[in-house]
């Protein structure tokens, strides 16, 4: 394993951070990661991150949910044992559909919501007892940290970052 170096630039204002991201991007440096204590509006756009597709996933999960509800109730109420319960027509699914709609709706929402949340956890690699990946505890309180990999251009990066108003610049060796 080669030893790589990253540079950690720490800011204490989100506006300064945004300006710094823009100037680092303008100089075509790759930003490895940014740690912030709260969502910074527009940061993803400034970093050029691809938009999330979680809403599409959620829509598909909702489709699964309504299918599960329909197939389940069609089997139970219509095919398996079509009893006469209070005079409700159980000859076909469509005839008794109004009674099934509340369940179809709820299962659609249930699947869409829960599977989307689980997808989010999987994609963000979050689970109980996971070791926190936190380079500096201050980033959970009031500091912003930008991590840039160093490829022998330490000096240039250091100068650039100090111009952008970083309050602290550290070079970290870490084994990948």
């Amino acid at each position: 394993m080669e030893t790589s170096k990253v540079i950690h630039a720490i800011y204490n204002d989100d506006d300064v951070l945004m300006a710094a991201v823009k100037s680092v991007k303008a100089k075509k440096h790759h930003i490895e990661e940014i740690y912030t204590p709260f969502p910074v509006h527009g940061l993803d756009k400034a970093m050029g991150l691809a938009p999330t597709r979680i809403a599409i996933a959620s829509f598909l999960y909702g489709c699964v949910g309504i299918t599960v509800a329909t197939v389940m109730m069609n089997f139970i109420m219509i095919e398996d044992w079509p009893q006469n319960i209070g005079g409700k027509p159980s000859f076909s699914y469509l005839e008794n559909m109004p009674a099934f709609v509340p369940i179809m709706f709820e299962l659609t929402v249930f699947f869409a919501a829960h599977l989307m949340v689980i997808t989010f956890y999987l994609r963000s690699r979050m689970w109980p007892f996971k070791k926190a990946e936190n380079p500096d505890p201050r980033t959970t309180d009031d500091h912003f940290l930008m991590e840039i990999p160093v490829h022998g251009n330490e000096k240039e990066l250091h100068d650039l970052l100090s111009q952008t108003g970083a309050v602290e610049i550290n070079i970290i060796d870490n084994a990948h």
């Binding site: 809403a55 829509f59 005079g87 109004p98 009674a99 709609v101």
Partner: protein, 459 residues
């Protein structure tokens, strides 16, 4: 930015009104069928198709007639059904069909009048909500809304006029409870005459219209005064009257829906009907705001309106469409589930005689906007919003159609000259009044305290 109505648009509006008026006139004249004409028409209908036996067809016709009749004069039918012979049944059937055919142009005209009135009333409520909620995104659209609400006063007066005229110069063509002969034989309507009487109907209607128009008049006045003022006094006044109006509105809108729509079926009642009508008018109102905004923006008259405003309007169209469906379904499902005979006839007549419009409107008002406006990107594409908007407006016309027609014309419905020409007439009138009102004030409010926020609105 000043707006001047283009000659082409004014000409279109006038042509629509003229063509519509001719068609409406024609449908009123041609609807005066005599007893003999209806008799031959029905005879021809039952002789149609050699495959069916004459008696079976006759029987089916009579059966549908009985169901349609069920809504207004169950009592009469029940009281007379055994004692009278088949000749009398035949006369009654022909009379019933004849009356339904006489009702058709009245109902078509009334539906179209109500539909456009409902758009502008929905916009007025939406406008008041923008002020009361101190919305930061919408001030750029306030003048468009004010233009649309200009139709409210004439439009609502026309609706009330048609309703009252149908019971005075007409032959009780829309509201059976206006007919003293029907009331004399109907215990249920007799019990409701405290509310359902023509004088009360007219006076209530005038009070509703007066209240809405007063709010519209003063909010418009303060909105224009705010442009030239040095402080925000006018805005604060509008904020206060908007809050008061919303309280007044929700009561009067509910009563208006009982009076102007629900009372066409005086034997039937539903407690969430007012909300249901409200949801329909809100979605139509927001859709119309979006369509007119896109038209004006297309002409370069609203340069500061961006696709985030469109996105918000489309979100409201989406949300209110689902809200409408929620109320439609709640009303339908509760009545379907409990299946109490006196309530369920309302839906029985609609499902038997109006299957396509009744279920078709669910596709138009729910599935279509649900699937097309769910995607955030699509909500920013003008032609997408226009396409969905046209579908929503058409769907809600069918919704009003489904509320009025089954009670007045029963199974004699059709979407033909009376319906289409009534729509053309009121569409022309609506365009004429709304776009004339839009020329009366600059299209962008200048000193609204939230207008800067609205100009930079970004979602």
């Amino acid at each position: 930015m000043e707006y001047k109505i283009s000659n082409r648009l004014r000409l279109t509006a006038i042509i629509l009104m003229v063509v519509g008026a001719l068609g409406v006139g024609y449908s009123f004249l041609s609807s005066h069928v005599t007893f003999e004409e209806v008799e031959t028409m029905l005879a021809n209908e039952s002789h149609h198709g050699d495959g069916h036996g004459e008696t079976t067809t006759d029987h089916t016709v009579k059966e549908t007639h009985d169901i349609a009749e069920g809504t207004h004069d169950t009592h009469k039918t029940e009281a007379h059904s055994d004692s009278h012979d088949s000749v009398d049944e035949h006369t009654k059937h022909v009379n019933h069909v004849m009356h339904a055919m006489h009702n058709r142009p009245w109902s078509a005209f009334y539906i179209a009048a109500f539909f456009f009135m409902m758009i502008s009333l929905g916009v007025l409520a939406f406008y008041a909500i923008q002020y009361a909620a101190q919305a930061g995104w919408s001030p750029l659209l306030l003048r468009v809304m004010e233009g649309i609400t200009a139709y409210l006063l004439p439009g609502a007066l026309i609706v009330l006029l048609i309703a009252v005229a149908s019971g005075t110069i007409g032959h009780y063509n829309i509201f059976v409870w206006m007919d003293p002969d029907v009331v004399a034989h109907d215990k249920l309507i007799q019990g409701k005459t405290g509310w359902l009487n023509t004088w009360g109907f007219a006076i209530r209607g005038l009070v509703f219209i007066a209240g809405w128009s007063l709010y519209r008049y003063f909010s418009r006045k303060f909105s224009i005064a705010q442009d030239k003022a040095n402080d925000n006094k006018n805005f604060k006044k509008t904020f206060r009257i908007s809050a008061a109006f919303l309280v007044f509105f929700i009561y009067t809108e509910s009563m208006m829906s009982w009076d102007w729509i629900m009372s066409v079926d005086p034997h039937w009642f539903s407690t969430l009907f007012g909300w249901y009508v409200f949801a329909g008018m809100m979605v139509c109102g927001v859709t119309t705001i979006a369509l007119i905004t896109l038209y004006l923006k297309g002409k370069g008259l609203l340069p500061k309106v961006n696709d985030s405003h469109l996105h918000d309007l489309a979100k409201f169209m989406f949300g209110f469409s689902i809200f409408w469906t929620y109320l439609w379904f709640s009303q339908f499902m509760l009545i379907w589930y409990s299946n109490i005979p006196e309530e369920v006839t309302y839906f029985v007549t609609r499902i038997e005689d109006y299957k396509l419009p009744f279920f078709g409107m669910i596709a138009m008002n729910f599935l279509f906007p649900l699937l097309l406006l769910m995607n955030s990107d699509y909500k920013r594409i003008p032609w997408f919003v226009v396409m969905t908007g046209v579908m929503i407006l058409a769907g809600h016309y069918i919704d009003v159609f489904n509320m009025i027609m089954p009670a007045t014309v029963g199974d004699q419905w059709y979407i033909g000259i009376p319906e289409i020409c009534s729509m053309l007439f009121f569409a022309g009138l609506f365009i004429f009044i709304v776009f004339t009102a839009l020329t009366k004030a600059p299209l962008e409010p200048t000193r609204n305290p939230f207008v800067k926020e609205s100009e930079h609105f970004h979602y």
